[in-house]
């Protein structure tokens, strides 16, 4: 029977469960599962909302051989306006475990491009990962979104940062650095030197339960500072970060009584393989005029420190936010967070290489929450 791509309906749920079971049994990667439910748990399409998820399946008779999701959203392109685009995410193919289905990956991505030529993907784990390679072959423009981190508690970091402790001799060195205090000194010195470069001036940070019109005004005032960015008006922010979501912290930053920016922060899901028992906080999303980015970064970092984060991480592409992170003592680490724009989307972003410095891409873009931060 021929494989056809169709929207995910409730009737497909048992076949998706079976697809997930086959993937799980053949691989150790716990991320290789597709939504068990046809209706997305995050950003389902309800009413006239500006951002929503939609799922599609590669159906082979009664079996499911592949799946992908599109996150429909609006982006602002400086000098051109607002466009409806989609993020291609959670693409899974039976070809991962059975090469006789190697064609499914091509079917999925081509189907997505046919549905939304203004397509992008984000994350992917680096240029060498299969999806990034596939999108590159299809003529997508790829660029890395820089990664930054700041160690709040060096002792815990040195003992728990599993990805840096892979070899025995390195683990011994890190233990010694933790116990003797030399690691604490080195990390605080490196971050302290980095943090001497700038001061954001006075500001007030307060936690809010929901973003309202003040946030929309900030979006309108500052959007021309970015060459491209997902729309972050009040309506979109209320959908992305609803008051009902108590897992995230929304920070409003003001100066002299007037709002100058905002940030959304949260604790990353547990990942003992990478981070051991560390508490990892993430600066997930943020917005301000470039001159006020430093205040927002510091306010976000304080909010995470207050919550007991041992390590704070963020991915930011815009040069003002990168500078703000560096000036707040964040260090740049290796990034595997890839932004890939389809040919049609790349046309809108020309000159791509020049404009990418001012792309506003954060950890909240792409498949965003709840998985990807």
């Amino acid at each position: 029977m021929a494989i056809v791509i169709e929207p995910y309906r409730e009737k497909h749920e048992p076949a998706v469960a079976e697809f997930n079971r086959r993937l799980r049994e053949a691989t150790a990667d716990r991320d290789l599962v597709f939504s068990q439910k046809a209706i997305p748990s995050w950003l389902p399409r309800t009413g006239d909302i500006p951002v929503w998820n939609e799922f599609f399946l590669a159906v082979d008779g009664d079996a499911v051989r592949g799946a992908y999701a599109l996150k429909h959203e609006q982006i602002f392109v400086r000098g051109k306006g607002v466009y409806q685009v989609a993020c291609y995410h959670h693409a899974l193919s039976e070809g991962i475990i059975d090469r006789s289905y190697a064609r499914v990956g091509s079917l999925l991505v081509r189907d997505a491009l046919a549905r939304q030529p203004l397509l992008y993907a984000l994350g992917m784990g680096g240029y060498e990962r299969p999806l990034a390679k596939m999108l590159s072959a299809l003529g997508f423009s790829l660029t890395l979104v820089p990664f930054y981190f700041r160690v709040v508690h060096p002792y815990t970091f040195l003992l728990e940062m599993q990805v840096l402790r892979e070899s025995q001799w390195r683990a011994v060195l890190m233990n010694a650095a933790a116990v003797t205090g030399t690691g604490w000194l080195a990390i605080k010195f490196a971050q302290g030197v980095a943090g001497l470069r700038g001061h954001p001036g006075h500001f007030l940070a307060e936690e809010v339960t929901e973003f309202s019109e003040w946030a929309g005004d900030l979006w309108t005032k500052a959007r021309d500072a970015v060459s491209i960015g997902s729309v972050r008006d009040a309506n979109t922010l209320r959908v992305l970060y609803p008051a009902s979501d108590r897992y995230l912290t929304r920070v409003r930053v003001s100066r002299d009584g007037a709002a100058i920016g905002w940030a959304v922060v949260g604790e990353r899901r547990e990942d003992t393989q990478k981070f051991g028992d560390m508490r990892v906080g993430s600066l997930i999303d943020c917005w301000a005029a470039p001159n006020d980015a430093a205040a927002v970064v510091r306010a976000a970092a304080r909010a995470l420190e207050k919550r007991g984060a041992d390590l704070i991480v963020s991915n930011q592409s815009h040069h003002a936010w990168r500078r703000a992170l560096e000036n707040a003592g964040f260090l740049k680490g290796p990034s595997n967070f890839v932004f890939a724009a389809s040919k049609k989307l790349t046309e809108l972003l020309q000159p791509f290489d020049e404009n990418r410095r001012s792309f506003h891409i954060t950890r909240a873009d792409g498949d965003g929450l709840p998985r990807n931060f």
């Binding site: 090469r99 990956g105 081509r110 299969p130 596939m134």
Partner: protein, 83 residues
């Protein structure tokens, strides 16, 4: 000697999959060529479109289960092109 569609596709597949052309037959498929994975499948689709100047629909990509299937598909498309 006339170069057949099979020869052309076999050469493409040999380049893409990194296997000797002689080892590729009409029955060759992702199950018999270890390097024929999803990325190389897409590269094969793109190579066919670029070098043989054909456009492949999702339904046609779905039919590409072996080299023989690819040859049959491409021959059908080339014959359908108005001379």
């Amino acid at each position: 000697m006339k170069v057949t569609t099979f020869d052309q596709i076999r050469t493409m597949a040999s380049d893409l999959f990194g296997v000797p052309a002689e080892s590729i037959s009409a029955a060759s498929s992702p199950e018999t060529i270890e390097t024929w994975d999803s990325i190389q499948h897409l590269n094969l689709v793109l190579a066919l479109e670029e070098r043989l100047n054909v456009q492949l629909s999702p339904e046609e990509i779905e039919q590409m289960k072996s080299v023989g299937d690819v040859v049959k598909l491409v021959e059908g498309k080339l014959q359908a092109v108005p001379k």
